[in-house]
Symmetry: C2
Subunit: 552 residues, 2 copies
């Protein structure tokens, strides 16, 4: 009869969980020992828990099924919390296995004793359980997996005491059949049809699974048939885009810009998302971004099937056979001259291979990324769903493990890259096809913007020094090499192009450190402050307006 850990391993694999991102300690040693009992389980070691949890997030976004994490007690979970927060906000399934002291050891309050359940509840509101016996362990695990894989996806946390793990008498369990997802009900569809047919200006805001191809095609048919505008949420968990797919305009990060986008909408229809709100609050500005007088309708909730709901709406509108507008194939030219952040984005748009996965955590440096990759070959894009920076490099690991045949291009700000820089080592160890592009602008550039936006304009040298990352200037090429990743530092567009071509044509991980000026330098701040302060998801229409305004 297997011990608890061995039975758990079999239960996980039988449920389709075949990857575990690990950072184990003593209390997880029996789980580690059990890895060899299941040939289907792949264990991927991370040097920091935030890498493991971010990798599990990225994996599930691309594999459409959860990975497991293996974490060491409450402190290990704490280290992984920020990227679990991002997964939770993105409705991404993750199954955490958090090792704990043996049940009888808890009362001694040893050094690593802490309240794991309380910490876990923050990111796993739907399932936190400390397994109480070896016999019950696998049933607990099945319930965790069912919760994680439900609609919407969730982070589930199973706490595994060491004696439950090492105890004899584990009983592997099988997954129950999961009920099919519900479709938008008739009354919701009827209300939306009536709004669309009202003659008032109507938009559909797509989030979650609404940004995957089946939903996009259905939404595209509706848009073409009924002249409805399509928006995408600001920070998608995963959006399928590029040449040949229906394009959507993402809501901008900045409330000022989002306000422009939504200004004349009279009916806003939500699909797998909530009504847009400002990322932060600012003195004297609205938090809720839906304009006064606009009626909000929910076609389908995150608990429902977005694509089927959109198909049902299309049918009700008679739009099932409409031809959606599709994004034409068009790439920008290769950039030339002194390197800037927009030129990096341009090069990415120029060279992006077929079927790539873009991980976007470029923050201010990614201002033009959306526009400059819009007509590149079809690809997926993963974004910062929960706002906790340090997501991108770990996400790239997970995406590359989920899709080993697809190139992953991760665009990461210098500040954000440092949070989970240990990810580079795992990329090297697993020889993942990830090209990490680090924008080294020697600044928390976004905070320079935010400092002004919150109204704290008169700042002294101590405040300013909190936002700059020079003195010393980080050298990411050296950091990469120190972790076994091929790294180069470039400062012209020609060098960047060459480095990107090289990285995309040579297997394994690469890092390109793009030395770029601070994003806001040289910009007439008082002329176009609200436009230029935008963050990753600048929509096409606004980009065009911006280009006209900036053009000399």
């Amino acid at each position: 009869m297997p011990n608890g850990a061995q039975a758990l391993m079999k239960t996980l694999v039988d449920a389709g969980i075949e990857v575990c991102f690990t950072n184990p300690g003593t209390s997880e040693m029996h789980f580690v020992a059990a890895l060899d009992s299941e040939p289907k389980m792949r264990a991927v070691l991370a040097l920091f828990e935030g890498v493991a949890t971010g990798a599990a997030d990225g994996y599930a976004r691309m594999a459409d099924k959860p990975a497991a994490t293996l974490l060491h007690l409450g402190c290990g979970l704490g280290n992984g919390l920020a990227n679990l927060h991002n997964a939770r906000k993105g409705k991404v399934p993750v199954v955490n296995i958090v090792g704990d002291h043996a049940t009888y050891h808890v009362k001694y309050d040893a050094q690593l004793q802490s309240d794991i359940e309380t910490v876990a509840r923050n990111v796993s509101p739907g399932f936190v359980r400390t397994s109480q016996s070896t016999e019950a362990l696998c049933q607990d695990a099945v319930e965790a997996i069912v919760t994680a894989k439900g609609l919407p996806g969730q982070v589930a946390t199973l706490i595994l005491p060491a004696d439950v793990s090492w105890g004899e008498g584990g009983v592997p369990c099988a997954m129950p059949q999961q009920a099919p997802a519900q479709v938008a009900d008739d009354s919701a569809v009827a209300a939306v049809v009536s709004a669309i047919q009202s003659g008032k200006k109507t938009a559909i805001l797509l989030g979650g699974h609404g940004l995957r191809e089946p939903s996009l095609q259905a939404a595209g048919r509706i848009a073409a048939h009924s002249k409805v505008k399509l928006f995408g949420e600001c920070f998608p968990t995963r959006i399928e885009r590029g040449a040949g797919l229906p394009p959507v305009e993402r809501i901008a990060y900045l409330a000022e810009l989002a306000g422009v986008q939504l200004a004349d909408i009279e009916h806003l229809i939500l699909v797998d998302c909530k009504a847009p709100v400002s990322f932060f609050a600012y003195p004297g500005k609205q938090s809720y971004l839906v304009p006064d007088g606009c009626t909000v309708h929910t076609l389908s909730t995150p608990e429902q099937d977005a694509a089927a709901s959109l198909e049902k709406l299309a049918a009700a509108l008679g739009a099932s056979n409409a031809q959606p507008e599709l994004q034409p194939a068009q790439r920008p030219g290769a950039p030339r001259g002194r390197l800037t952040a927009p030129k990096v984005c341009k090069a990415v748009g120029h060279y992006l291979p077929e079927d790539a996965i873009i991980v976007d955590e470029a923050i201010t440096s990614g201002l033009m990324l959306n526009a400059l990759t819009a007509g590149s070959p079809r690809h997926d894009m993963i974004t910062l769903t929960g706002g906790a920076i340090g997501q991108g490099l770990p996400n790239a690991i997970g995406a590359a493990i989920a899709c080993p045949e697809r190139p992953v291009v991760a665009l990461i700000g210098d500040g954000t890259a440092m949070y989970t820089n240990q990810a580079l080592w795992t990329m090297a160890r697993e020889q993942l096809n990830v090209t990490s592009i680090i924008f080294n602008n020697q600044s928390y550039s976004v905070l320079n913007i935010e400092l002004e936006r919150v109204g704290a304009e008169e700042v002294g040298p101590k405040a300013k020094s909190q936002l700059d990352l020079n003195g010393p200037v980080l050298n990411f090429a050296q950091l990469a090499q120190g972790m076994g990743v091929h790294g180069v530092r470039v400062s012209t567009a020609e060098e960047f192009n060459k480095a990107l071509e090289y990285a995309l044509s040579h297997p394994g991980p690469h890092l390109i450190e793009a030395m770029v000026p601070e994003s806001m330098n040289g910009v007439k701040r008082k002329v176009l402050p609200w436009v230029l302060r935008s963050l990753p998801s600048l929509p096409l229409s606004l980009t065009r307006a911006l280009k006209k305004k900036i053009a000399p």
Copy 2:
């Protein structure tokens, strides 16, 4: 009238909090802007929250007063949680300022929204409060500081909504007088006197402030007068030691060894600590390390004044004028030949300057550190109080800022160094006098031991690969250089000696990467497993026994 942030800044400085370790985001921008309003406040930027919290911990251990941290919402707190756990377990005062969304923004559940209070409660059981108004903010802060600075020291968390920070009408508050600490009461002293005079074998176990000089001198007098053995707790928050101070034998990490140390003790007297328990549970082994039949007495609790309680006991015993045994000055010779972890410790013992601060997170590589530095010039040693690795480099930052005139030598395992490697950048930015010694043995060496200790002996290749850190081998010298720290890699004792001499004689941060064999290599595991599995605090007496047994 100042805004909330400005009034808070004044309140902090007036309460003696003059250093803030920061990793701010948008919601903290008014606090950042207020930094320039208080010339006495020093803001030290960290690139990751775990560095900020670990630095605050190290600072307070050496400054004997708290620093503040500045963290960004629940995710920033999460990233800082592990080192706050270490501070909590070490009873170290820390005042967290955690920025939050504006109070009215919370209901919109924006991307970074999470339950900060719940996460904070884990490390701040004594004080978690979300300040509700600008008017109340400074009084809230004073209560947080009072809690933090109490006896025992605590982590206190003040959550600062953005609108409370930017609101006008802040009212700086002054600290109240804090009551003097209580001394052990007469009945406790009488019981301990009676135990000591019983003729049975008695030991005093010193923890917390019991390991600082005034307590050590008093305990040393008692030991000399009454033939009582002195133990120190396994992982001291701060221990003063070296030539000229009364030495204590620290309880070993391994239950097997601790059992030997405590075997014949019939009365165990606790000063500012609890009775020793095993770090982890192991199948078939005791968690509680006090032998059957040994009576445990508490002279003073962590709420009481350890030194005054020991003085009271000494007086009751008539030992006030006894001469304590003092550690004679004696240094090991400089090591020669191929580098090993014990040779690194030997070099540290040989070269350690006067009045140094040793930060010990060397894990298995520090096996001989205690023995080989015992007679070095007087120094302080800081250890891993809560078991959450990644403490050492951040602690070194805080210690160096608290004591700018004292050299800091941090001994760190390769696995642990990676958790908070971003600390190196802050050391460079602040030009701190820290010499970081990284033991690169390409392994989570301690887990190789623990895997065997928990009884999971038959392990396959997947399990083993979870514990090795090669493929690729990390290059810490390169990582240091990438963050602006002078770094060298050495593989002979002569090279190490030279690098250490250089580092100790040149100001600013240095990193020495010691390439050493995996600690357990070449050891006859089955002959002396329980001895050789020891961790940092191998006591002198056991070291001697060990040397005899190992000697060919």
